[in-house]
Symmetry: C2
Subunit: 236 residues, 2 copies
């Protein structure tokens, strides 16, 4: 299995996803939130690129979620903190979600044969699903604005580490994948600290959102791997 890792959404061109399984990573916080919502029983998450598109996609009973500048959008039901997406709030609901980079990354990958979402919360489960799909893989680190984000690189490295440990696959990585695997292996004992010291981590800490970093730093607590079906992310 060939695995290519893309450092930020700006580096992604849709041609790169052709005939591949795409794994989208936005640890702080879009994919962590999506996975939490699906694990809490949400029917589906519908990614929207803009606030206007999100409002247009909302049907009666749907919840609107998302952020701009890390804050909840005015008039929306939910922000982008995994903790808000509890079973009480989301079970049985459709959620329309728009975030700065995460949902943009999902849209970029739509030409892939399969689109999976990963975060630290479900890395092992995602590696297993990707291995079963028997396609080459492109891991897209959403990043922060135009830049690489350390938390997404760490998660890409963790997914690669899990892929390497699966007996049924031989993994061939590109140079950036090799670098991300080494990053994860060097920092695996300090994942949360590394994230807190990253650019997005520092910003969230300043805004009093330390609990979001904690919620997003837990490793392999969910088995759910939200997967794109049409325009909806649902359980695999």
């Amino acid at each position: 299995m060939q695995v290519q890792v893309i450092s930020s959404v700006n580096e992604a061109s849709s041609a790169k996803f052709h005939h591949k399984t795409a794994i989208i990573i936005d640890v702080l916080r879009a994919t962590s939130t999506i996975i939490t919502a699906i694990a809490a029983g949400a029917l589906c998450v519908i990614p929207a690129e803009t606030v206007m598109e999100a409002r247009a996609l909302q049907r009666p009973g749907d919840l609107l979620g998302g952020e701009r500048f890390c804050r909840k959008i005015a008039g929306f039901d939910l922000g982008n903190s995994p903790d808000e997406y509890t079973e009480q709030v989301v079970a049985g609901k459709r959620i329309v979600l728009t975030t700065t980079n995460g949902t943009r990354a999902i849209h970029k990958s739509m030409r892939a044969d399969h689109v999976l979402t990963a975060s630290l919360l479900n890395a092992e489960a995602c590696a297993r699903v990707a291995a079963e799909l028997r396609r080459d893989v492109v891991i897209l680190c959403a990043g922060s604005h135009d830049d690489f984000a350390i938390e997404d690189g760490l998660c890409a490295g963790l997914v690669l580490d899990k892929l390497h440990s699966l007996s049924q696959v031989t993994v061939e990585m590109d140079d950036f994948g090799t670098a991300m695997l080494a990053l994860y292996r060097n920092r695996s004992a300090q994942v949360k600290e590394t994230i807190m010291n990253g650019m997005t981590g520092k910003k969230l800490m300043k805004m009093g959102m330390k609990k979001d970093i904690e919620a997003c730093s837990a490793i392999d607590i969910y088995h759910e791997v939200p997967r794109l079906n049409g325009d909806q992310l649902t359980r695999s």
Copy 2:
């Protein structure tokens, strides 16, 4: 000292270098060759972006060096293998050099206050010179064509490791710098093997250029840090 690391020459915009010290890295093979040439007593290396420009810059007595598709250019005196740049051949000479990514990277950084060239061969010396220049630093990994190259990332991590060990500077890295430092620290015992398994390394191995990889994998064997003065790279 703020240190930003750019993953490939395509990611570099000249605005990023304003008021900074630029450190250009192209381990395979441009900066390794430039450092070897200067250490062997070459008067200067003049980077040229194109073959035509290189020919135009040549004055009587100058040597023409460089590669296209990893091979020596027809009619040139020298290719891009450090081993060719011996004292017997280059001492007291000006060398006009054109390579695919390395010289392009040097040209991109020309708005910096200082432009230094680094490879594994002089990483510690380069970190010392950069620290003495008391500017924020941008490390530009030249990469291979449009992509990140593992050997340049390893070298960026090594330079960062050396900067961290200097008592007179406090280093603040961006997320990509943090990742490259972790990459180096994870792979520091297998530098040559990591380079051989990278994309450019594999290509050079296939072309029978293993000795170039060996020549470029030695760590801190030179104290010379070629530096841009006008359009020439000379001893610092």
